[in-house]
Amino acid sequence: MDVWHVTWFSLATAAGATAVALPIGVPLAWLLARARFTGRSLVETIVSLPLVMPPVATGLILLMLFGRRGPLGRALSWVGIDVVFTWKAVVIAMAVMGLPLLVRTARGGFEQVDRRLEQVAATLGAGPARVFLTISLPLAWPTVVAGAVLAFARALGEFGATIMIAGSIPGVTRTLAVAIYSYAETGQDRAAVALLAISTGLAFAALWGANRLAGGSRA
């Protein structure tokens, strides 16, 4: 039974997806919280789309983008990188599905930072990047971490987008959620229940941790 391999693979890819989402999601959350620019509502809507769209539809969009004939897939294959049906596809699917949770949570944290502190930092000679790194980010940090934990938890539970772009190849792209479905479908109930217990425990721990962090930032 490859329960432990599946668990380990899921944890590693979910961590990778969170690492991919953070450098994109955190500055985006700050921009949405602070900057006024044309197309802001459009960006906001696009970022949140994976939350409300059927995950398989998001997966199909990713497949069209990263497939051999897709614009990104073709560009990547020129430099020798294949994405679809590899662990990289799993990471991309997880990152896209986790990004909205990270952005929405972190944005709330940035909005709570006293704007006057950022303005005072600017008058003391700090440019926008320094204000972000030394004032906004440290003060919003607990909420940003809570958002990252939520994105990680969402990535761990990802199914629809993953199966579209990465499939269910044992030992290569099979994640916890996909494995539960495969085991249940083929009558391997003990393995399915074991994975169910593991994924419930991980989701519980992640949500509990995120709530504690977000609660701490409000205290």
């Binding site: 303005q119 005072v120 930092a121 600017a122 008058t123 003391l124 700090a126 440019g127």
Partner: protein
């Protein structure tokens, strides 16, 4: 200092046209008259719709030349009403945040002048109201500013504390060679600190002159 600009915010319009030579200028007026808006415009935190802002020979804002220096390049020491100390840094890191090699005064000189030697390793939440005011003032001085902007620095403290902090402001005025723009709605404070007063009401300067002439 040239403050000749118009700034509109919703229904409110601030319209000012003043050339000030004084060392300490007090902006005096009721709440909502636009006092803080003037400081924000000098600091570059709000952008006038048109006009000119200059300190000495440095042009900070000029709508006709499309010049609008960002706040980080204006060399402004700004102490907002709520002092705005960074709560996640200790006092020393607050003081050094805006230090500018070449133009900043030595840290120990500023720390001595405001008598905050014993506070530099404290965390901000551990400071009393009066200590916060002095640390914020020191931090503003540490960036080597071309002008010091103080937004009702004594409004949030009670009378005994006010009496204790006022001498520090007078010391800054007397020891540092830099212009100060000081917002207040306390006549006594203005008389003790300022040598020029702008009497502001509903976004317009109603009177401009010495404290004795404007606030008899």
């Amino acid at each position: 200092m040239v403050l000749a600009f118009q700034l509109t915010q919703g229904e409110f319009t601030l319209d000012i046209d003043e050339r000030i030579e004084a060392k300490v200028t007090a902006i005096f007026g009721p709440s909502g008259s636009g006092k803080t808006t003037i400081l924000d415009a000098i600091a570059g935190l709000r952008v006038p719709s048109r006009g000119t802002i200059a300190i000495g020979d440095r042009l900070l804002f000029d709508s006709s030349a499309s010049r609008n220096l960002p706040p980080q390049h204006r060399r402004i020491g700004y102490v907002p009403q709520d002092v705005g100390l960074f709560p996640h840094m200790n006092v020393r890191r607050n003081l050094l945040y805006g230090r500018h090699p070449g133009s900043s005064p030595p840290l120990d000189r500023v720390v001595r002048m405001l008598e905050i030697e014993g506070l530099v390793d404290r965390r901000v939440p551990q400071l009393s109201g009066g200590e916060r005011q002095r640390v914020a003032l020191a931090r503003a001085l540490m960036c080597g500013p071309a002008v010091l902007l103080l937004d009702e620095p004594l409004a949030a403290v009670d009378l005994p504390l006010r009496r204790r902090i006022l001498p520090y402001l007078q010391r800054v005025r007397d020891e540092m060679a830099l212009p100060i723009v000081y917002v207040s709605h306390d006549r006594d404070e203005v008389r003790m600190l300022a040598d020029h007063v702008l009497l502001l009401d509903r976004g317009r300067v109603r009177q401009s002159g010495s404290p004795a002439a404007v606030l008899p």
